[in-house]
């Protein structure tokens, strides 16, 4: 995966969020404070505007810039989480202009680790981690199985979607939704949903 594809990914992530802004906000209205779509869109619009300035950068620099933009514009819980994802990811593949499957695994694992530490989250807490964790696992398995990027990504997105859907049945233990007790059960987690959209955009860009 090269720099052009990375930029395409971020571009696609931005347009997908824009299209799903209402949907994400509706999900957040059910169990949160009805702003997840708005937050994400604010951040990704900023990122989108910045993309042209990143064309001749390496991937590490690109993801670091993306991180800074997201941190300073999303706000809420998702801002530091997405920001940390990109920050750790950028550090893990610093200086690279091209990512092979192993690099991608490193990137994803570092990002996941960052979110878990920042959010003090465990699997099953009904957060974006419940979408990201199975996705990273699937990617690792695919790489171990010798799958190439495209196919590995396909499996990853499928696992991510499963993870996202699985949040429906969970009772939230982190974030605002946790205050609802078992009233959070039956609603899909907005952060898991935006995270799925992020990985889907990634898949569509390789």
């Amino acid at each position: 995966m090269n720099q052009e594809q990375i930029l395409r990914w971020l571009q696609r992530f931005a347009t997908t969020i824009d299209k799903n802004k209402e949907y994400l906000t509706q999900l957040d209205a059910a169990i949160g404070d009805a702003d997840h779509g708005i937050n994400m869109e604010r951040g990704l619009k900023k990122l989108q505007a910045q993309l042209p300035t990143l064309e001749d950068k390496d991937i590490g620099t690109t993801l670091k810039s993306a991180s800074m933009t997201l941190i300073s514009s999303i706000g809420g819980a998702s801002g530091p989480l997405y920001g940390t994802f990109f920050l750790r990811a950028s550090a893990a593949i610093a200086g690279k202009h091209e990512l092979d499957e192993h690099d991608m695994l490193t990137l994803l694992q570092a990002g996941l680790q960052g979110i878990v530490e920042r959010g003090k989250t465990q699997l099953g807490d009904k957060t974006m981690v419940d979408a990201l964790y199975p996705a990273v696992l699937a990617f690792a398995q695919a790489v171990q199985d010798g799958k190439l990027m495209q196919e590995a990504m396909q499996l990853t997105v499928a696992a991510c979607e499963q993870g996202m859907i699985s949040t429906k049945a969970m009772q939230a233990k982190k974030g605002r939704a946790s205050y609802l007790g078992d009233r959070s059960i039956g609603h899909q987690d907005p952060g898991a949903t935006s995270l799925y959209l992020m990985l889907k955009s990634l898949y569509e860009s390789v």
Binding site: T25, D33, A34, I71, S72, S78, P80, K174, Y179
Partner: protein
Amino acid sequence: MKKLINQPEDFVRESLEGMAAAHSHLIQVHFEPTFVCRQDVPLVNKVAIISGGGSGHEPMHTGFVGMGMLDAACPGEVFTSPTPDQMLAATQKVDGGAGVLYIVKNYSGDVMNFEMALEMARCEGIRVRNIVIDDDVAVKDSLYTQGRRGVGTTVLAEKICGAAAERGYPLDKLVELCRRVNLNGRSMGLALTSCIVPVRATPTFTLGDREMEVGIGIHGEPGRQRLPLKTANEIAEMLTLSILEDSGYTRIMREWDEEQDGWIDIEATDFPFQPGSNILVFVNGMGGTPISELYIIYRRVAQICSQHGLNIVRNLIGSYITSLEMEGCSVTFLQVDDEMMDLWDAPVHTPTWRWGV
């Protein structure tokens, strides 16, 4: 949606511009990144106090910037945590060399953004400590939730710690005081109507004509329970007893440790409310409730306190930590010692409060 606004996206900025125009002798309002600070910062050798959070809770926090209270406040979008760059800019602006205390409400977004800001400020060589306020007894367990939310006690902590900083408390002592205020404060709130986030334009939740939402936070999120509407007396009883009957709540607080230069987890348990205690009672309106109704709530709260042998030594009645135009109220009890009472009475001069000067 009926509001005195222009474009919904401009709500926060224009409201801050209004504050800037109104209170230029007290505060400075900065944009990109957005923060409000005292006119006279940095104050050399005074510990600076910064708070912040989503907008929509006015007058908290921006209305509390000034002498004897906050050095800076970082307002986010409505009900959305501000971002670390705001906090970092505010920190750099107000630090007078004695360090900075962040007073943070326990919402995942606020906590994480302030943590990132603290890490960044450390990189810039500024001493920063953080205290997370988590006083909302509607949340029973800390294990299966994000833990208690930070609500009414935040306002009291900002006043008390602000006065202490003004008196020259060093950072460590201030952290200790702020933690003590938090462990002695408890709140419970309730909504009669939902609020409307400007950019969303529809109510966040809908309540029937004879329903109320109990155990709410301050972001228009649904509460713990939906109940049939009750009388003011029943509501006052429900809120007060939730506070008084709450058994000691234990949480793990993540604080910055200066020696280890890293995060540590501290376990801490609430102080129970003992008969004979001196308390400060804060009856807070959610933004759309007139003060006449708050007095009806206070009336009953005071009766219950006297039945329980609690001495109300100070009170605060008004809409200070709000959720836009939501109707409803919250009740906060703070068990006060002489030091806290003295600091409560100390002079303050902010857009919202001015006394002693």
